[in-house]
């Protein structure tokens, strides 16, 4: 019988003296043990006749207790667990349903009504969740990507979709709080919108001048609505819209980051599980394509080898001599110095380009082509720098003798620093240029140009670089130039960096170019299809990709950095006096003047309450309360950690106890067998065996259950021992 054999193996394992030594388990158990396990099994089957009728009883496996041959009564699952969530075959689910219905009949009227209500509510929730899930766009595309390129690349596309959602929410805020009031009640301020004038051209679309400058795209359009109450006017709504949008996106991104971080923290040094992961969660069951499967095999193999290599690398690191350390640090210092020079050079380039562009805007040159080029110089420089340097950083980090994961992270950190710092320098330069009569619109235009050029670069990169490379590779596979460039791969981190950069620009610019989220949505939709084209037509699946989860933490963290930068830039901006001639805040000394005016008109206790909320007298108790809350959480976390440690110890103890009992059991059996043998040789009846076995079988339930019931009777025996 197959099942008998299986349980034999199991008993050998349980009975081997030292469970952790593989050699013993592999089947080299001595004759006596094998025999005794057979006897144990036989006595059980006699004890419970007809116990084999259920080959795949889910209940037995559930807690890892394999009671060989024993037919347990069907386990009572948690009655609130939906039937579909039981890991048992369909027929068993039907039986469970029958049992539940019988149980329900035995309950009172109220109880059965409550349970059925619970089920109805749960089903409703599931339906809604499923309907919402069905509304998500691009599901089939994502599925195809997952099937061909694995989860890693899919993370990029889901991240892109997430950004689309964020921007859509922003659109709602901007549309409802800034655009609608101005359009509905704006009166004669909105006159210029919608009419082309003689000197408008397509170029205006790229530069944000002319037609676009008069449209709601830019800050200048949102003139304050006349005759409005001090607490419900368009400037206040405008400010409210932008601020709530930033707060909301902060909450959304922090939530995402924290979810991911929680996982990452658990993966951290305390519970280092990454080898087990690679093995237990290694295979991507979505893969259908045989080529992808072969690739996945080699990817997993390389990954495992790299991990083992990395382990040996750490061993090597701990054995490095002082001289080697010194040499290495010297090398790293030099390489970091080179990185710094590269960064400084690129910052200067950006600064210089901004200066050229500003000069050009002051005195327009007659040649439109040159003018366009000069006006677009800062975005071009920023994009070019960000296109070239990350690849250089990747090369540089490979010389620094870090472990591979550190290499990827170092490259990413340098690239994100470059990206955000370039933007920062550009913004800083723009602040120095506040002379224009409507500098806010001017600022918005620059942000608009950054977004537009980023999009153009993405499209041109696909059309003029990725596609021709692929065609060349297909037509002339032997050409040396082609061979040097090699096959193209979809580098997820760098592509994500582009998205983060774009989102940061959107956040910085949303105050001055309120329709930027809307433009971003359109842009992201197009980028999705461009990237999909690049991925499917031009890219090979990568030989080595990184883990989806960890990288998505990193991505959201970068997004958070971008948001932080946007908030800093905006708060610096808001402190400056708004320009006198345009925008919702014209004629005020500062943007926050609007709120102050509103607060002053509130009824009696209102202003003083708000003044109190803003004062230090309120801040101090607030900080104190936060400190107390944080301290309690930290101590709770520590207590939990200690509890985990002691529970782990308890588990180890229980399993030791289990092994001890099994050993004792087997020695007992052995003694019986020996006694039997002597009696057989003496010529007595052999039928005595089942009777002799009755005693040890009484032992058995305790033995088998000790895993799942830590510190039952088994534990007590251990302490007695």
């Amino acid at each position: 019988m197959a099942e008998q054999e299986q349980s034999d193996v199991h008993f050998q394992r349980l009975m081997s003296d030292d469970g952790s030594s593989c050699g013993l388990m592999a089947g080299s158990a001595d004759y006596l043990q094998t025999e005794s396990s057979e006897q144990l099994l036989r006595c059980q089957t006699e004890h419970e006749p007809g116990g084999h009728s259920q080959p795949l009883g889910g209940d037995r496996e559930r807690r890892g207790e394999w009671v060989s041959g024993e037919y347990l009564p069907a386990r009572d699952w948690d009655p609130n667990l939906p039937l579909r969530a039981l890991p048992v075959p369909m027929q068993e689910k039907r039986n469970t349903r029958e049992r539940r219905q019988q149980q329900r009949r035995s309950f009172g009227c109220w109880e059965s009504w409550r349970r059925s209500q619970q089920i109805v509510r749960r089903r409703l929730g599931e339906q809604v969740a499923r309907a919402l899930w069905g509304l998500q766009p691009w599901r089939s595309t994502l599925h195809a990507i997952e099937g061909k390129f694995g989860v890693g690349v899919k993370v990029y596309f889901t991240f892109l979709r997430y950004l689309v959602y964020i921007n859509l929410v922003h659109c709602v805020f901007v549309g409802g709080l800034a655009l609608m009031p101005t359009l509905l009640f704006g009166g004669n301020t909105t006159q210029g919108f919608g009419h082309f004038r003689g000197n408008d051209s397509v170029l205006d679309f790229l530069l944000g001048t002319g037609f676009l400058e008069r449209s709601p795209v830019f800050y200048g359009f949102y003139a304050p609505v006349p005759q409005s109450s001090p607490c419900l006017n368009s400037p206040l709504l405008f400010l409210l819209g932008v601020l709530s949008l930033l707060v909301l996106s902060c909450v959304m991104v922090v939530r995402r980051t924290v979810i991911g971080y929680k996982h990452k923290w658990m993966l951290g040094n305390r519970y280092n599980l990454h080898m087990s992961y690679r093995v237990f969660c290694g295979w991507d069951f979505c893969i259908q394509d045989p080529d992808s499967a072969a690739l996945k095999h080699s990817f997993i193999r390389n990954d495992l080898r790299l991990d083992l290599e990395e382990e040996r690398f750490h061993l090597r690191v701990s054995q490095r001599t002082f001289q080697q350390w010194a040499l290495l640090y010297f090398l790293r210092c030099n390489l970091n110095f080179i990185v710094l020079i590269l960064l400084a050079g690129s910052f200067y380039l950006v600064y210089y380009a901004s200066k050229c562009s500003q000069e050009e805007q002051a005195h327009k040159s007659p040649d439109w082509m040159l003018s366009l080029l000069l006006q677009y110089l800062p975005p071009i420089t920023i994009t070019a720098v960000n296109f070239v340097l990350p690849h250089l950083f990747r090369r540089i980090s490979s010389f620094e003798d870090y472990s591979l994961t550190v290499q990827v992270n170092v490259t990413l950190v340098r690239s994100i620093f470059l990206k955000l710092a370039c933007l920062g320098i550009f913004l800083f330069f723009l602040y120095g240029q506040v002379k224009h009569k409507c500098w806010e619109t001017q600022f918005g235009k620059e942000m608009y140009k950054l977004v537009m050029f980023d999009f153009l670069a993405c499209g041109l990169n696909a059309l003029l670089v990725a596609w021709p490379r692929k065609v060349l590779l297909e037509k002339y596979p032997s050409c040396p130039l082609v061979r040097v460039s090699g096959k193209q791969q979809f580098l997820v981190p760098f592509n994500v960096l582009d998205l983060v950069y774009n989102q940061t620009v959107t956040w910085v610019g949303v105050f001055y170019c309120p329709l930027l989220p809307f433009i971003s949505v359109l842009k992201l939709l197009l980028v999705f299809y461009i990237k999909k084209f690049v991925l499917f037509r031009c890219c090979e699946p990568a030989q080595r990709m990184f883990r989806g989860s960890q990288s998505s933490v990193l991505f959201h963290f970068m997004l958070l950095l971008g948001l932080l930068m946007a908030v800093v830039a905006l708060s610096v901006n808001l402190r400056m006096a708004p320009s006198a001639g345009c925008g919702p805040f014209q004629g005020r000394d500062s943007v926050f003047n609007v709120t102050a005016v509103c607060v002053d008109t509130l009824p009696r206790p209102g202003p003083s309450i708000i003044r109190y909320l803003r004062s230090e007298a309120f801040a101090l108790p607030l900080i104190l309360a936060e400190i107390i809350l944080l301290t309690s959480y930290v101590s709770q976390g520590r207590a939990n950690r200690r509890a985990i440690e002691s529970l782990k110890d308890m588990l180890v103890m229980c399993s030791a106890d289990k092994r001890f009992l099994v050993k004792k059991h087997s020695t007992l059996l052995r003694r019986h067998a020996r006694a039997l043998k002597t009696s057989v040789s003496a010529g007595t009846e052999t039928d005595g065996r089942p009777i002799a076995m009755k005693d040890p079988s009484g032992f058995q339930p305790v033995v088998m259950r000790s895993v799942s019931e830590p510190c039952g009777t088994a534990c007590q025996r251990l302490s007695d021992r």
Binding site: S21, C22, V279, H297, S549, S655
Partner: protein, 189 residues
């Protein structure tokens, strides 16, 4: 589509919807795909078994290194030949569907990886598992030295009670910390 819908009675369809994580469309599609695997004369009866070899020709399973294990785990056949009835097939798709819980997915994953069906992952199971992951041929396998290092690493990480094997709760402990698992343990028709 219309003909397959008529083959599956309405009450059975709604029962399947209740007992699995699949939607109506998914069940109908599964039924269509399943009847394609059956021989023409067998299509009328519902409890007909499809032999494992036939099931393995499906493109969704063809390149999966665990395909035989999957069939064995989900098969309710007495002969343990891995053949599937339509209901077994639905159980399979339900466990691998998008909306199945982590609990059920990890449970079945454990049973798929437990090659000798003894309820724990021991060294032999882990070795077979790693071989499935890296490819079965001699040149794709890890060397014995690497294998030993890897298995001792895995046991050190996930064998919490130190009995030399990974049991279901230890396995679920590892799995519950991997957000990737739910998205990758998935087979959609």
């Amino acid at each position: 589509m219309g003909t397959t819908a008529s083959q599956l009675p309405k009450d059975l369809l709604s029962e399947y919807q209740e007992l699995t994580f699949l939607t109506k469309q998914e069940i109908l599609l599964a039924h269509k795909r399943f009847t394609e695997l059956l021989a023409k004369e067998d299509r009328s009866s519902t409890s007909q078994r499809v032999p494992m070899e036939k099931v393995l020709t499906m493109p969704e399973l063809k390149s999966n290194p665990f395909r035989k294990r999957i069939c064995h785990v989900f098969s309710t056949s007495e002969a343990k030949d891995g053949s599937l009835t339509f209901e077994d097939f639905l159980d399979l798709l339900s466990a691998f569907s998008d909306s199945a819980t982590l609990e059920i997915k990890s449970h079945y994953a454990f049973r798929i990886f437990d090659f000798d069906d003894d309820g724990t992952l021991d060294c032999g199971d882990l070795e077979k598992l790693v071989n499935c992951l890296t490819g079965e041929t001699d040149d794709t396998r890890l060397t014995p030295e690497e294998m030993r290092q890897l298995i001792s690493n895995i046991l050190e990480e996930s064998d919490i009670d130190k009995d030399g094997t990974v049991n279901l709760s230890e396995f679920q402990h590892v799995i519950s910390r991997s957000p990737d698992f739910v998205s990758s343990f998935k087979i959609v028709l």
